[in-house]
Symmetry: C3
Subunit: 286 residues, 3 copies
C-alpha cells in the first residue's frame, strides 16, 4: 500500500480487509467496513495499525478522516469474544497489549484525525472517536453509548479519561453509569463531540475541513497538538490503569453472567443491538 499512499494523484483507493482508504492530496479518507456490524475485532485492529503506521511513515500524509460504510454502525463496540486477540494486534503498534494505548498513540500522532460519524458509536467505538482530534456527527443517525458499566466494568480504552476531561465529573458519571444511548444533539451539548450536523451536510463539511487543514503547514499542527495534548490528553499510565481495571472486570463472574444473558438477548447481533440501551435494562426480564 505504501506506493499508493505515496501517490499524490486524486482518487487513489486502497482496500484493506476492513478499511477502504481513498487518498486526496495530503488526506486519507478511511472507510470502515467490517460486516455485519463493524465490531472491533482483530482484523479491524490489524488494519488500523497498518494504516496508522503507513500514514505516519509518509510525510506527505497530514490528515486522516474516518467514516463508516455502514449507515447504522460506525464502530459498534469491541467483539467481546476476541478481546485477547485484539490486544495482541494492538501491541504491534505500541508494544503495549492494549487498545487504549493504540488509541492514545493515535491522539498523540502528528497526524490530524477527524471522525465523521453516522450510526451507532458505542463502547470502544466511542473511545475510538474520542481518540480522534475532532468528531462531527449526523444529527439524524448518530448514537453514542459508553455502556460498559452495565456489565460491571469500566470502559477499557480511555473513555473515563476523555469524558471526565471533556464534559466534567457529573456528565461523565451520568454517561457511564447510566449506560444510556445519547443522540448527537445531546452528545454535542455535553462536549462528547465537536458538533452535530444534518446528515446531508456532514460529508461536505468534514471534507472541506480536512482540505482546509491539509492546506496549512504540518509543522505548526504538530506543535499545537503537542501543547494541547500536554494539557488535555490523559497520561499513558492512566490509560494503562483503566485498561487493567477493565480486564480485571471482564474476568469477574458478574461480567461473565451478564454477558451470557446479553448474548441470549442478541448482543453482538446487528438487529438486536439497534436499541442496545433498552436491551441492557431488561437483561434478566425474560
Amino acid at each position: 500500500m505504501s506506493k499508493e499512499i505515496n501517490n499524490e494523484s486524486r482518487g487513489d483507493t486502497v482496500v484493506f480487509e476492513t478499511l477502504t482508504v481513498r487518498r486526496e492530496g495530503a488526506i486519507l479518507f478511511a472507510e470502515i467496513a467490517a460486516p455485519p456490524m463493524n465490531l472491533l475485532g482483530p482484523e479491524l485492529v490489524r488494519d488500523l495499525v497498518s494504516l496508522i503506521q503507513r500514514a505516519e511513515a509518509d510525510d506527505t500524509v497530514q490528515v486522516l478522516v474516518f467514516k463508516s460504510a455502514d449507515p447504522d454502525y460506525f464502530i459498534s463496540h469491541v467483539d467481546v469474544t476476541r478481546i485477547k486477540e485484539n490486544r495482541e494486534e494492538a501491541a504491534k503498534l505500541t508494544g503495549d497489549a492494549s487498545i487504549g494505548q493504540l488509541l492514545r498513540h493515535l491522539s498523540a500522532s502528528r497526524l490530524v484525525t477527524i471522525a465523521q460519524i453516522e450510526g451507532r458509536v458505542r463502547g470502544v467505538g466511542s473511545e475510538f472517536a474520542l481518540a480522534c482530534d475532532m468528531r462531527f456527527a449526523a444529527r439524524e443517525s448518530a448514537i453514542f453509548g459508553q455502556f460498559e458499566p452495565a456489565f460491571g466494568v469500566i470502559p477499557g480504552a480511555g473513555a473515563a479519561q476523555h469524558l471526565a476531561r471533556l464534559m466534567g465529573r457529573a456528565r461523565a458519571l451520568e454517561v457511564m453509569l447510566s449506560a444510556e444511548d445519547y443522540d448527537a444533539e445531546l452528545a454535542a451539548a455535553y462536549g462528547w463531540i465537536n458538533r452535530a450536523l444534518p446528515a446531508s451536510e456532514l460529508g461536505d463539511f468534514v471534507s472541506s475541513l480536512a482540505h482546509r487543514i491539509a492546506s496549512f503547514p504540518a509543522a505548526g499542527q504538530v506543535v499545537v497538538k503537542e501543547r494541547v495534548n500536554a494539557i488535555a490528553l490523559a497520561p499513558v499510565e492512566d490509560i494503562r490503569r483503566d485498561s487493567d481495571l477493565f480486564i480485571e472486570g471482564v474476568r469477574s463472574r458478574e461480567f461473565q453472567e451478564r454477558m451470557q444473558a446479553a448474548m441470549k438477548r442478541g448482543f453482538q447481533t446487528r438487529d438486536a443491538e439497534m436499541p442496545l440501551a433498552r436491551m441492557l435494562a431488561d437483561l434478566y426480564d425474560r
Copy 2:
C-alpha cells in the same frame, strides 16, 4: 432506621427530623423538609450524616436521590447564625469540622447520588448539588446562585473547586463574582447541572434513571467513580483551604456589616429571599 433501610420491600419510609427517606429496591429517595425554607442548619447536617452513614453501611443500597418537599427551595443556603454548630455536626462524618469535607465524602462515596432539583439552590445548596454525582433541574422553577462573594467571602464548601472544573475559568468567575441568580437553562448551558427538564417530566426521569443505574453492578460503579474522581474531584486539601478562607472571611468586619444589612432586608426569611439576587444589589439602598 437500619432495619427499615435493610428492608427490601417497596414503599418503606423512614422519617428523620428534616429528611423523609423512602426505599425502592437499592434506591433511597431522600426528601428534604426543613421548614420554613430548607436552610442548612445542624439538624439537616446531622440527618444527612446519619443517612450517609447508614446507607454506606448497607451493601444493598446503591443509589441515593435527593429532592425537596418545598417547591420553592431545594436547599436555600447555610443558616448563617449556626455555622459553628453545622461544622460540629459535619465533623461526625469525616473528623473534619467542615461542610466541604462532608460533601467531598459524599462525592467520593461508593453510593451513586442524584439531585432532583426544583426551587432555589443557593450557596451551600448549590455546593450540595455539585457534590452529588449528577443533578437534574426543573426548567420552570430551579434557580441557582453562588452568592457568597456578595458578602466578601469565597464559597466555603467547594463551589470554586467544582465550578472552575465544570465550566471553566470565565464562567466560574462570572457566577461567583456576579452573585446572580441563574435559571436552569443557563445553568445547563454552563455545565452547572447535567440537564434542565420540564418540571412535569423531572420526577419520572430521575426515578427511571435511578432504577436503571441500580440494576447495574455496584462493583463497576465504584471503579468508574474512583477513576473519574481521580481526574475531576478536588483534592481534600483544596476543599479544606476554601473552607478556611470562608471562615476567615465570615469573621471580617465587612462580612458582618453586610450580613447585618441583609438581615434587615429579610435575609433568611422565606418571602424576602425569593428574589435574593436583587436584594444583594440593593443592600444599602434604604
Copy 3:
C-alpha cells in the same frame, strides 16, 4: 492620569493614544481605538501597560471593562511587522518580553476584567479576550478566530492554554487547526465566551454586571480569583513556552513565505481582512 482615575465623580474621561478611559465609581470603561483596524501594535501595548499599572495602583478601582470604538474590529490581531517592539513594551509590565505574560498578569490581577465584544477578535485579540475574567459578545457582529496555525505557528500569547482548558481537547484543536472564523453563538456553545447577547442589549448588560460586581467587596473577589486561577489559569512556564514556540515559528521560512503571500492578499488591511478565514484558504490561489 492618576489624578483622574482617583477622581470618583461620574463621567471622568482620560484619553491615551489608543484607549479612551471613562470612570464610573469603581469601574473603568476602556475603549480601544487604534485605527484603522485595532491591530495590536506597540502603542496599544504601551497604553494597556499604563492602564493596568495605574488601575492596579489605585485601590478604588475594582473593575475594568474593555470594548472597542470600531464596530468591525475589537482587536484584529498582532501587527506582525512590530512583534519585537510589542514585546519590548510588554516587558515594562512583567519584566518578561512577552504579550502572553502581560495577559497572564491581567488574568492574575486583583482587578475584575470584562471584555465587551463587537466585531472581529482574532489571534492575540482572542487571547486578550481569553485573558479577561469574563467575555460577552454581540450575536450579530462578533467573530472569533485563532488562525495562527494557518501560518504554521502556535498562538503566541496563551490561546492553546486557555482553549484546551475551556473547551476540551477536540474543540480546541478544531478551532486552532481549522483557523476558521467562529460566530458568537458557536463561540458560546464551545465555551470560548461566557455568552452571546443581542448587540442591542450587550452594552447595558455589561455595564449593569460591572456595577453589580463593583458593589461587592473587593477582598472576596481577590480570594475567588486566586482560588479559581490556581485551578484553571495556565502556569507562567507554559505561557512562556508557547511564546517561545511562537517566536521560533515566526522565524521559519514557511511562516515568512505565507505571510508575504497574505500581505499581497491584503493581510493587515481593514477591508481585505473582514473575511480573513476565506483569505487564509486561498493564500496561493492567484
